[in-house]
């Protein structure tokens, strides 16, 4: 007798489960057809706190090296060239290895001028892993460190610098 009761109860619970599944036919689906069937690219709809690829605005970098020190895995490499006669400093290298970075955000917190910040960019696939070293100061270029007294330059859209760097690596016109 127990045998048949078990079969009956099993059948009932299967039907109950099917009823739940069936009810989902009439509810709004949660799935999104990414990436081609969304109204806006995902980069634009992600929250501003999102920790995506790093971006450095070298115009407002003070070359204080706080981010380099804060990084636990030495992702950021900054070189500052100091002229011993004129005491003038120039940033000659600012590399961020996006392949090694673990996107923890410790460098961003230390930056006094928000020169280094996260973007909402995340798609950075390249055929060569070396392409992921983001060189914010091109070889041969020399940037003057920003002085907090100066007027800040016009703001650029977040992610524009990194996106341009990635595009140039991929050969996108």
């Amino acid at each position: 007798m127990q045998y048949f009761t078990n079969i009956k109860r099993s059948m009932m619970s299967v039907l109950e489960g099917m009823a739940v599944t069936f009810s989902w036919l009439f509810r709004r689906p949660y799935t999104v057809q990414w990436p081609d069937k969304i109204p806006e690219p995902l980069e634009k709809t992600l929250p501003a706190t999102y920790r995506g690829l790093l971006e450095v605005d070298t115009r407002i970098c003070t070359a204080c090296l706080a981010c380099e020190k804060a990084c636990p895995i030495e992702v950021i490499a900054i070189e500052v060239d100091r002229n011993s006669e004129t005491k003038e400093r120039h940033i000659v290298r600012f590399d961020v290895d996006a392949a090694k970075c673990m996107y923890c955000g410790l460098c961003v917190e230390q930056c006094p001028t928000d020169a280094i910040h996260h973007t909402t960019l995340f798609a950075a696939t390249t055929p060569d892993i070396g392409d992921l070293v983001l060189t914010f100061i091109k070889p041969g270029e020399r940037a003057l460190p920003f002085k907090p007294k100066d007027a800040p330059p016009a703001a650029i859209e977040r992610g524009a610098i990194t996106q341009a760097l990635l595009d140039s690596r991929r050969g996108v016109e």
């Binding site: 078990n6 109860r9 099993s10 009932m12 619970s13 299967v14 109950e16 489960g17 009823a19 739940v20 599944t21 949660y30 992600l46 929250p47 706190t49 999102y50 920790r51 804060a70 990084c71 636990p72 673990m102 996107y103 923890c104 955000g105 410790l106 917190e109 230390q110 996260h118």
Partner: protein
Amino acid sequence: MIKQELKNIDELRILREPVEGEMLVNMGPQHPSTHGVLNFLLVTDGEVMHRAVPHIGYLHRGIEKLAEQTEYAGFMPFTDRIDYLAAMAANQAYAMAVEKLAGYVVPERAEFLRVIACELNRIASHLVATGSMAMDIGAVTPFIHWIREREYINEITEELCGSRLTYNYCRIGGVSHDLPATLAGKILLWLDHFEPIIDEFDRLITHNEIFVHRLADVCAISAQNATGYGLVGPNLRASGVDWDLRRDKPYSVYDRFDFNIVLGKGFRGAVGDSYDRFVVRVLEMRESCKILRQALVALPAGEIRSKVPRVIKPPVGETYAAVEAPRGELGYYVVSDGVSSKPYRVKIRTGSFTAMSIIESLSKGVMIADLVAIIGSLDVVAPEVDR
């Protein structure tokens, strides 16, 4: 009946030369029902297991040693990687340990934010634990429903701290981001949506007769065995042992909330069987919802980070701080030498490691298919075992 006794690890070699009637089967490291990269050596006689020897170390990354190379604040992102399903608890435990060592005070708002984040994370972790356990047993549908709910939590944490999995939310002396009022409303909205979904989940799988018969009375752990092997968290409570760090050693602001500790009562079989461990997790999600509602209402205004020097150098000493993570007590033992800005030693105690050690004694005389139920119900996460 066990034909071969294993006394030390060198004797594993002997296992590879099976005696008559016994067969050695490798389960893992790439088996879909071993959560993560785990390897089990099964000594079997047909379908019946004589022994299952867990092999750990496939995911050893030397996180404890890495701590000695990084500064106190810089070690925080590494703690995310200890348990990828419940990174928030690992963050909080480490922050608590260093704060205790250096004597920093955490603002009240930060404590509340930590609790909110941790409880959200606990729900997310239990969703994966119960969902993947159901999937291991053979029910795929609940897992998909749970992943959908977890997606909402991921979106909340993404907005809160910028990341979906490796949160890195706690800082020594506070938290990294404040909770905007709109997000608090979003969490409440989600809770209103989620609590009826648990009822639906119960209809879908928890009270399913086939599922209950598959798990009830399978591999029951007695209270004595559970404490003897050092089980913690839901695994311990499922065996009927009333122990929860949130209530018994209140840390953070947990003593201000009203919530119940869920105990295994032998819901459909013996106390401490696989089904109890499953149900305890489902019920704990409801308790977490209760804590979340209270915390969001009582959330005080104020600072989220206290003033902490940029380079942290705690005085000479050692300390231990533990939190009740979704997989039980997760503790950090931190030693400072007083001179360096890096820890002298960090030892991490996790719940999955002890859960892993009981598998060998549990697996005597059960079927191979039940091993999947054991691993699933103990909620073993491989990176937490190896660190």
